[in-house]
Symmetry: C2
């Protein structure tokens, strides 16, 4: 196996079973993949260290793991330049770019509703 990067080998481990969006969640949304995709989507092609500095607190190990996973899933394109200090560039693929409307919807929902969630929590914790 290629791995340390790939997730569930089986395609239908149905925690989802009849929930058509669960597979997408598995591919696009996790603690670090979302910020990485967002950064590449917002700021264009970037080098490893740029991403590392932009995404605060991510460790190089995890950054490598997530980038490999995204590359394997076809969402990110990696370009290696065999120069003196090695140079690697990452950019979002066309498939990755197709997530744009999804990100827009998400950002909009966040802007409108995040504080409602916070209010709900306060109310719940009070009762």
């Amino acid at each position: 196996m290629t791995d340390a990067t790939s997730r569930s080998a089986a395609v239908d481990v149905d925690p989802e079973a009849a929930c058509p969006i669960a597979p997408v969640v598995d591919i696009v949304f996790s603690r670090w993949t979302t910020p990485i995709l967002w950064a590449l989507h917002e700021y264009g092609r970037q080098r490893f260290v740029e991403l590392e500095r932009r995404i605060t607190r991510i460790t190089p190990k995890v950054l490598t793991q997530r980038l490999r996973q995204l590359e394997r899933d076809g969402l990110v394109v990696r370009t290696y330049h065999p120069e003196v200090p090695p140079r690697v560039e990452y950019e979002i693929s066309e498939l990755g770019r197709s997530l744009a409307p999804l990100f827009a919807t998400l950002a909009e929902w966040a802007a409108v509703n995040l504080d409602k969630v916070e209010e709900a929590r306060v109310a719940y914790d009070a009762g």
Copy 2:
């Protein structure tokens, strides 16, 4: 604390830092919260056992945990009927319903692009 249900107490534990959609991911997308929200969104008000049967393989412990979390976040409304065998009904809240366009976008992306991801994986694993 209320808990075993609440996540990160601090609001800005910035794994995200300047990624506006990371908080939403934390609230809406996880292995089980997504299928639960989807089931309530698709099939309307349901009892605990109905959800348990619909969402294959979920354990009662986890179902309770996720439902409590969703209730606290204001996405789900819980109604308790103190009857002989107790009866509890769950339904999506108005805030939860506002996720509908998001789910629609997700479902559409899945329908169009999931097999492209699969192709990319096959190609990657071959090279």
